[in-house]
Amino acid sequence: MASSIEQSAFFQQRIAKGALVVKDPPKFDLESYIANYAGHTRMDRLHHIGSHSPYLALDAYRLAIAEAKKGKNVNLYLQLAEELGIIAPQDPAALTDTTWAEKKAQETQREQDRLEHELKSYKNNLIKESIRMGNEDLGHFFYDIGDYSNSHKSYMKMRESCTSNKHLADMTLRLVYVSVAQKSWLAVQSNLAKVDAAQLKGEDKSKLEPIVSACTGLAHMCIGNFKEAATNFLGTLPAFLTAEPAAGITWQKEVISGNDVAVYGGLCALASMDRSELQAKMLGNSEFRNFLELEPHIRQAINLFCNSKYSACLDVLEGYRSDYLLDVYLSKVLSTIYGRIRTKSIVQYFIPFSCVTLDEMSSKFPVSGNVTIEEELEHMINDKTLEARIDLVDRLLISPPTNPRHDVHADALKMAETYDHTLRLRLTRLNMQAAGMEIKAEKGSNEKMGVGESLRGLGSKMGFS
């Protein structure tokens, strides 16, 4: 069955376009996985899994379509049904329920008119609180029908009528929420910074802290700042797991779950930190342990890395590759993260040796695809990530001998020569300036300028400008 789905036009098209299709079956169970999520991210994740994994496509689409029918987002429903229609035309859920769609579209249009009308009347009455709530309702409404940019606008309009810090913080959190749905991570970051800067005190503040750090980590990860992402995820307090809804959003369900924090944090840390840092900040971090317990294999991978068992660590991660590729946020950056971890493993592995055979390297780090280990190592050396030389004759990877004394002398000489030359250049320039020598514009062009200027002057005198 799965193979016929894989052969379907939908996935063939994706492969032809060079888009990602995860062919291996994932380890997780869709039902229990998706039960962790609610709201927009549930839909988004189902859609992502359905469109990427032939194995889970049918289940995911069915769930997603059933879910979409409960909501107000007509466009999403139509899109899902159409895609399922290509994958499995005979499936009952693939038949687009046009009557429902039309009815729903009319309903939402009416609701929008009503909300806009209400907001207008609030504005006439000039009651700030009502205006704020009117805008908020409109924002919620636009969010529900999937019109994120209008939703963002409506939430933004709340700012003028916010009367307390709490309102301001709620509004900004809403903006974060919308920006996450839009996947515009820079907006997420700037809004999170505003939440952080909001003058909340005591309990309110401490309630928001874990949410802010988890979301900041997510935003950093999605734009490729793995180091910052890791720091933020690691700083997320376990209170996040049990946090009450803030601004009406259950963050650990509707945006990023505790499991996600563990996985994202662990992978980002592996990609960006060295062994001692991992040991101190990750394994020695009692707060983060709560998260790691949710995802024991991440913990295992980090342990292996810290114990210099790099190939075992890579094996563990490789085992979960298809799972992570089906994660809506990870799938785009996963290959970069895995690549970094691999490169770092190779570098770390090579540190204690002065010489390793290439065969040993390729057995420790089996290469994927059609690159040879030589090519990969050559690339790393040219990138200056690996300080080594390759001996193609005896098939060795050699750590070059260092001679600090010689290097210091050579550097000193080079630096002195550079400074010497720079100083000479400056002195030449200075001498010429002192002698009043300077390249000046040609006489001819000067005169032309002069004419132009005088004409311009004439114009202003005559009252034109």
């Binding site: 001996d391 004759v393 002195l427 320039r429 010429m432 300077e438």
Partner: protein, 523 residues
């Protein structure tokens, strides 16, 4: 009359006891030069070619000033009369001229700048007339070095000399002069400073060439901006002729940093084009234009040298060597028009070298057949090429034969910088560092010197300001107020305060020289 002349000429005896003091020597020498200037031309020719000939009586080393005058007049007469025998290379006067330029007393010639300049010019003219300008190079060079061992004050002779060397393609002959850094330009030294204390006389042992070669000393024609630029561009070309690319590039940088009112000129463009190409030849990594260069001017020349930048860009693509070839072929006409064909060819030749030297950063040993496959040549050719690279010192590596037949000859790089043909021992390094220290110290002196000249200029400007102020509408009626004005100005410009104070004591002395100051004192 002849007798009179010779006694007159012998009047000035630099070795005599009276002139031990440098200041007295200074005065005597000046007076003597003035006196000789007044001797009319016919007198000099009397007694020529007799035992009484002044050129025989005088010793060029001891009586340099007198000898210079005599020689100059004699040559000018000979040139007018077209008596080519004496003045063509190998003739009597030519030999005397060459001997003089090689042996004159440098201190005396500081005073007779005009004679010096004319004699040096004659060498070139005479050699040219005889159809072999190359003969002039050695005498001119020794004269320059004799007058100023650092040859660091720019004169028009510098430019003439480099032009001559390029014309005759004797690049190596130019090198001793080119290697010396131009640390000063002939400047306008205010008269008040020139006459001043015992230690700053022209004849002083410690005098720097920037002090005795100045705008009025006659050693040089007027030097313009373009002259300096041309000198550096031509110098760079001479270095190119010697295949000393690094020095050539450094010379061109001097042209690039020249002060500019946000415009570039043709020489700068020329320099930039060559500079871009040299960048490929000199260093592995692309180098930025020196920071002190005028940004707008550089932008202008950049816009006009796109073809060259494209070549430099293609040069960096070591895995795609055909790109450079294509770029170079595409621009063949441009290179030919700019006269850079040779340089472009050198760039093309050196790309292979860059490729191999990058290999040394990745591999410790690599079969030659691999390299040959990557660059698209036969193994034998590549081996030969690598051999020359190693021999010429571009590569710290060796070629070795392996016992495995399928690998063939192997290029093995030396990983330790202290091993291999290019290795430097610590002693050599120390020696190099020591030499650099000497150079740096010398440069520090020159900087101090330039700094000193700059302070003079500041004063000069201040002086000028005061003059202009005086000529303002308030006129001479406000005589007392004028002084106050100065005080005010001093307070405003704190940094110049001490200079103004130093300035005061000079005032009385200045009256003699400086016409404008004189008028102040009269008031």
């Amino acid at each position: 009359m002849t007798v009179e002349l010779s006694t007159l000429l012998l009047q000035f005896q630099p070795e005599s006891e009276d002139l031990k003091s440098r200041q007295k020597f200074d005065q005597a020498a000046k007076a003597f030069v003035k006196q000789l200037d007044n001797v009319s031309a016919p007198h000099w020719s009397k007694g020529a070619n007799t035992p009484q000939d002044v050129l025989e009586i005088l010793n060029p080393t001891v009586n340099s000033i007198a000898y210079a005058f005599a020689l100059r007049h004699r040559i000018s007469v000979a040139v007018d009369k077209k008596s080519t025998d004496a003045i063509q290379p190998g003739g009597a006067l030519w030999n005397k001229l060459v001997l003089f330029l090689e042996t004159f007393d440098p201190v005396q010639m500081r005073y007779a700048g005009q004679e010096y300049k004319k004699l040096v010019d004659y060498v070139e003219t005479l050699a040219r007339n005889a159809g072999s300008p190359g003969l002039a190079i050695a005498p001119i060079r020794s004269a320059m070095i004799r007058l100023d061992p650092t040859t660091g004050t720019f004169t028009s002779t510098h430019l003439d000399f480099v032009r001559l060397c390029l014309e005759t393609q004797s690049y190596a002959a130019a090198q001793p002069i080119l290697d010396n850094y131009i640390h000063s330009l002939p400047s306008q030294i205010p008269a008040a400073v020139r006459e001043g204390s015992e230690y700053s006389v022209v004849a002083a042992d410690v005098a720097r060439s920037g002090e005795f070669i100045h705008k009025n000393s006659g050693h040089s024609d007027k030097v313009t901006f373009v002259d300096v630029q041309e000198y550096y561009v031509l110098g760079a070309m001479a270095y190119l002729g010697l295949r000393q690319f690094k020095k050539a590039q450094q010379f061109l940088e001097h042209v690039l940093v020249m002060p500019s009112a946000n415009v570039a000129n043709g020489l700068m463009l020329e320099a930039y084009k060559k500079w871009v190409l040299l960048n490929c030849l000199v260093s592995d990594e692309p180098k930025a234009v020196p920071r002190s260069a005028n940004a707008t001017a550089i932008k202008q020349v950049r816009g006009a040298s796109k073809a060259y930048e494209a070549v430099a860009d293609a040069y960096g693509h070591l895995h795609n060597m055909s790109k450079l070839k294509a770029q170079i072929n595409a621009g063949a006409q441009t290179w030919a028009e700019d006269g850079n064909t040779g340089l472009v060819k050198a760039v093309l030749d050196s790309q292979m070298r860059a490729y191999v030297s990058r290999l040394s950063k990745t591999f410790s040993a690599i079969p030659v057949s691999n390299i040959a496959r990557n660059v698209g040549g036969s193994a034998d050719e590549t081996t030969q090429y690598l051999e020359t690279l190693i021999k010429e010192g571009h590569l710290n590596a060796r070629l070795e034969q392996t016992n495995k037949p399928e690998t063939g000859i192997v290029l093995r790089f030396y990983l330790d910088p202290t091993q291999g043909p290019l290795a430097k021992t610590e002693k050599q390094q120390q020696q190099a560092l020591f030499e650099q220290t000497l150079r740096t110290n010398a440069l520090a002196d020159q900087v101090r010197d330039a700094d000193y000249r700059l302070t003079l200029t500041k004063e000069f400007i201040e002086n000028l300001k005061r003059q202009q102020k005086r000529q303002g509408p308030s006129g001479d009626a406000m005589d007392t107020a004028w002084d106050d004005g100065v005080e005010e100005e001093d307070i405003m410009t704190h940094s110049h305060q001490h200079e103004a104070v130093v300035d005061r004591p000079h005032k009385k002395q200045k009256t003699g020289d400086d016409g404008t100051e004189l008028s102040v004192e009269v008031k």
